[in-house]
Symmetry: C2
Subunit: 289 residues, 2 copies
């Protein structure tokens, strides 16, 4: 059986994943604010450094997989905490754990994105770029200018920056090239403590008015099922994908936006990729063809 | 056990899916040019009408699911066949089967898209719109103007139009609202007869130069595993999603293009969606919250 790190393991989808992994006989090291093997506050640099120290100390050998489910929801006044946990709470830990994952030979990583990335209006693009670079301080300043929309904007920007960072890392020689498959799951409204708090809070009516074509909410159990497949050998050929499980909101609101044809501005990058692929060892081995 | 329709059931990923369904004890009605329960040429209106007649005759009761894997690969001079099979060969059959799927109460549908939708340059956008409307004749004329690139352009345009049509249908009251969950799987280079023919054909070097970060090809077996999950109860909360299983090519070439923040031009549609969602019955039931 394998060894897995799960952040956000004390509640919601992180807990559902940790339970499923343990039920299959795997060894899970949970990370959370409390009720976890490693207790740490991922909203501070000190907390993240401590989590990393404790995780590396607990891992004597290889790491077969990791699930980054820790996240903070949208709340005005909480912008800095949201971006610190949602972006750096994953990118810093994943970077630190990479050598242990690569040592496993065939490790899988699942990062929790969100369908808020595609369904939230008025997200400042500059904040996304800054967060992608890890500049949470400047990004927070920009996000706070959104006034009453700063909560949802900070949440969506954090998950957009995280998705971008993860997709770039996933396709890189350090991850895909080293046999570590990293993918993203993007849930819609799933009945977790986080969603319940939103429904009971000031943004309750806003959340309730979001169109969900399937007309029901998701469950942590359903999302955990997808994560288990993304941790299984079925994901050997999946890298940097965003698996949206959101009841159809993305398909409804962004029908024509994705998949989208390659824009002209991306063609130079593509041609360069074609030219360099062989040298980078990115060409598939078709010797069995 | 359930009853399933699988198009393209005689080879490649369609065959792998049909085999898996049968191995689990399900009843599969295969559709293909030959070696299938229903033999029909989906590149002609007559062939599609015949396939629909025979399928409806074979289905006395409900239909638990359908997998649309029939497809024609990129080849210059073959543009019309490509778009007829890849677009209308799915949209016409899915439309005809919809009432049987809705009658099942909880049916699942998987449509084969392709990661060529996001990695092929110079795809004429007008051809995508025309194909989405079912106008294969005018779209073919536009695609043929791409000269030596008309093969890949026709293939990518067909899968883009199909994805767009399917996402819109999936989120509609007729599908999601009627309990039919429709999703898309978008494979990259998977070692099927179609890919082998490409590798051995004129475009072999082109295909081999495509960067695949994971450095290996996919197998029909792996893709069939994803389809099985998308047909399972795990997909109860998944509607209109595109599940990319492509070794990382999309993440490499289109890192920042998706997920993308909602553009301003989509905001009116979103606000309208928020306003109408309740009346359309698209609001999730949070009564358990």
């Amino acid at each position: 059986m394998g060894k897995y790190v799960v952040t956000g393991s004390a509640s919601g989808m992180g807990l559902a994943v940790a339970d499923k992994l343990r039920a299959e006989g795997h060894d899970v090291i949970g990370v959370d604010l409390k009720d976890a093997d490693v207790t740490a506050d991922l909203s501070t640099a000190d907390g993240r450094a401590r989590a990393i120290r404790e995780l590396l100390a607990a891992l004597d050998g290889v790491l077969d997989g990791a699930v980054f489910a820790a996240g903070v929801g949208p709340r005005r006044g909480n912008e800095r905490t949201t971006v610190e946990v949602n972006v750096l709470g994953t990118t810093e830990l994943l970077t630190a754990l990479r050598p242990k994952l690569a040592a496993a030979g065939n490790a899988k990583v699942v990062v929790f994105g969100s369908n808020s990335t595609t369904s939230t209006p008025f997200v400042p693009r500059r904040a996304i770029s800054l967060l992608d670079e890890g500049n949470t301080e400047r990004a927070t300043k920009i996000l706070r200018r959104r006034g009453p929309l700063s909560g949802p904007a900070a949440y969506a920007a954090s998950k957009l920056a995280l998705s971008r960072w993860v997709r770039r890392a996933a396709a890189s020689p350090e991850f895909a090239g080293a046999g570590v498959r990293v993918n993203i799951i993007a849930p819609g409204p799933v009945l977790t403590p986080l969603l319940k708090a939103q429904l009971e809070g000031a943004s309750g009516n806003q959340v309730r008015s979001l169109p969900v074509p399937v007309r029901e909410h998701g469950t942590p159990e359903q999302l955990a099922q997808w994560v288990m497949v993304m941790l299984s050998p079925a994901a050997d050929f999946m890298v940097g994908s965003v698996v949206t499980v959101d009841g159809g909101t993305e398909a409804l609101l962004r029908t024509k936006d994705w998949p989208s044809p390659m824009p002209l501005k991306r063609v130079p990058k593509m041609l360069n990729g074609l030219r360099q692929a062989k040298g980078k060892g990115q060409v598939a081995d078709y010797s069995d063809a």
